[in-house]
């Protein structure tokens, strides 16, 4: 691929062995992120979106393992990296923000120390110099009186403030890519909107690419240039956000859009997709969504490929919707 791709994931497979056979949480995922691009990854709980993010950071805990595929980041294949090589990349060129800000910070260490160590892990820098950078970063994410806040402990912060600290920490080393795993899910709606706006602005200013993982299509629609929809460890559709939301090709995407509360009329019952995710250790042979799909036919017993319908769009379905579009 061309040089403006910062991350290119090819055929990635992440498995967790269990006594009843392996659970394949990520099952042959191909993904690309360009420099400065915002990619949304959408899927319901258990679709493998979080594991995908962790795999890209090399943070899968044993006994889980990336068993196949490549993670090309800045031209290097990270799957071949040693732990020491990973450490040099993590936090420096690729950073991560987690879902729950109340647990992302060490409760017994001061905020300042936790941020400064992120700088010192990658640069030979004095504590004072690191402190100056940290203070600037705190101002940038909208934390008032940062000097004082440096000495605070996490429990003295609200959830939104803590997430701002986490985001500021992720941005400290000016990474090329940030993977944000549902960073606003645990927050109030108003705080959610602010943080969403701030993150988008900060990444834009710094030219940082962003992978925004969420179960909330509405949030992703506000921030992402492109969206990839995941189902049972596979990408079932990806494309430009606007087009994908307006004319979804995969029945699952269409179902997600129909389930968004904002698309429901007043007084109408909220819609949902019938059924639940299949067992990841026991996937159907064909399309994993077929059992819940209204369009399912005999042809769905064979696993469809992810087929490109245009330069910017691909879908994994034998009878995609909106084909004319």
């Amino acid at each position: 691929m061309t040089g403006n791709k910062i991350l290119s994931i090819q055929g990635l497979r992440t498995e967790f062995p269990t006594p009843h056979g392996p659970i394949v949480a990520v099952n042959g995922v191909d993904l690309e992120v360009a420099r400065g691009e915002v990619l949304g990854i959408v899927g319901e709980s258990g679709s493998g979106k979080t594991v995908l993010g962790l795999s890209a950071m090399g943070l899968i805990d044993l006994p889980g393992k990336v068993t196949a595929g490549r993670i090309l980041f800045g031209g290097q294949d990270l799957t071949r990296h040693t732990e020491a090589q990973w450490q040099a990349i993590r936090g420096k060129r690729m950073a991560m923000v987690f879902q729950d800000p109340t647990t992302s910070l060490n409760p017994v260490q001061r905020i300042g120390a936790q941020m400064i160590e992120a700088l010192q892990a990658h640069r030979d820098i004095s504590k004072d110099a690191a402190k100056r950078i940290v203070l600037e970063a705190m101002v940038r994410v909208g934390i008032n009186s940062p000097e004082e806040r440096l000495l605070s402990y996490p429990h003295q912060f609200s959830g939104g403030m803590r997430q701002r600290v986490v985001i500021a920490t992720a941005l400290l080393n000016e990474p090329d890519l940030i993977i944000a795993d549902e960073p606003t899910t645990a927050l109030d709606v108003t705080v959610q909107a602010q943080i969403l706006r701030d993150v988008r602005r900060l990444c834009q200013d710094a030219g940082t690419a962003l992978i925004w993982v969420s179960h909330d299509l509405g949030v992703v629609a506000q921030i992402a240039h492109r969206v990839a929809v995941m189902y049972a460890g596979r990408i079932v559709e990806q494309g430009i956000t606007n087009r994908l939301l307006k004319t979804p090709s995969h029945p699952y995407t269409a179902g997600l859009i129909a389930s968004m509360p904002t698309n429901a009329k007043r007084g109408e019952r909220l819609r949902s997709i019938p059924g639940g995710l299949p067992q990841l250790s026991n996937l159907p042979v064909g399309c994993a969504f077929a059992p819940r799909c209204a369009q399912a036919s005999a042809a769905c017993d064979v696993l469809p490929e992810l087929v490109s319908t245009s330069a910017e769009h691909a879908v994994r379905c034998v009878s995609p919707l909106n084909e004319a579009a």
Partner: protein, 316 residues
């Protein structure tokens, strides 16, 4: 205030219980003494009076810092205890240091690699450490290190030296040799306990999001263990150890008896055998007071280690 009530109730219980155990006069006088001589001894110690009068005398004495004289030694119980206390303190402190130095690293190691062979071996050892009786192991240690190998002295406290104003056998080679076996023996149970606490804490903390976030920051494993794991697991360990330190001092009796260590435990065992009431009562009150003080100290340390329990002056 509560502490005072606890001490008072304790003194009441101890005093009434010990009066049931037996007549100390029988132990104090020659069995062939004449009846009027026995009566004289009884009167001298005030044992001819009703129990409640004895208790009242004891209580008024105690309030002015006098816990009575030892029947056997004829000297104040508190003085006798004060003389023995440094030896016991030294033994307890050494045991605590050994327990932390050995138990903590092993426990953390086992917690970091919970499925590894090393971890299983370590946890097996900890089960042994908890289940082997202290007195038996003490005897075995004496047989091995003193009798067979001849490396360490069998009993007693060695030479002492004064360092930084503290007189202790920790500062002489001979003293250390004498200290090694009893301290290790006393520490054994605590090693196993610290190990289990450290392992449980480690597995719990390592699964936390903030550890994952620390890894996502690109920190080395060593840094994560030192800066993020340790401060978090130390909170419960210090809490438990604070109280356990009390039991080390209070119940070093078995170890002190085996190794003839001239500490408080030895004193009180002898006192119990001789029905030397003032010593037994004074000792038990001392233990209660010790636990009360340790509880306070633990609360203070807890606040130092965990910012979440500090008094909150600033808003959240």
């Amino acid at each position: 205030m509560q502490s005072v009530v606890v001490l008072f109730v304790m003194s009441l219980i101890v005093f009434s219980m010990i009066n049931l155990v037996g007549d100390p006069v029988d132990m104090l006088v020659n069995p062939e003494s004449l009846p009027d001589e026995i009566e004289r001894v009884r009167r001298d110690f005030g044992l001819d009076q009703p129990v409640y009068i004895q208790y009242w005398k004891f209580l008024t004495g105690a309030l002015s810092g006098d816990l009575g004289n030892s029947f056997v030694f004829g000297r104040p119980a508190l003085t006798l205890m004060a003389e023995r206390f440094p030896a016991t303190l030294e033994l307890a402190v050494s045991a605590l240091i050994i327990a932390v130095m050995i138990g903590l690293p092993l426990g953390v190691y086992a917690g970091l690699r919970p499925d590894g062979l090393g971890a299983r071996f370590i946890m097996g050892l900890s089960v042994l450490g908890i289940s082997i009786p202290t007195f038996w192991l003490g005897l075995m240690m004496i047989i091995l290190f003193s009798v067979i190998l001849g490396w360490l002295p069998v009993s007693g406290r060695g030479e002492t030296a004064v360092f930084l104003g503290i007189e202790s056998s920790m500062f002489t080679l001979d003293g250390l040799k004498h200290l090694a076996m009893p301290a290790t023996n006393l520490a054994l149970f605590k090693i196993a306990m610290v190990m289990r606490l450290a392992r449980a804490g480690t597995t719990e903390v390592m699964a936390q999001d903030f550890i994952r976030f620390a890894r996502a920051k690109g920190l080395s494993s060593r840094r994560i263990v030192r800066a993020h794991l340790m401060p978090n697991i130390l909170i419960p360990i210090v809490t438990v150890l604070g109280i356990e330190f009390g039991t080390l001092i209070a119940f070093a009796t078995v170890t002190e008896s085996i190794f003839a260590w001239p500490g408080l435990g030895k004193l009180v065992i002898d006192a119990i055998v001789n029905l030397d009431r003032p010593i037994v009562v004074a000792y038990l009150l001392f233990v209660v007071a010790l636990f009360l003080v340790l509880n306070l100290v633990v609360d203070i340390i807890y606040a130092v280690l965990d910012p979440r329990v500090r008094l909150q002056g600033d808003e959240g």
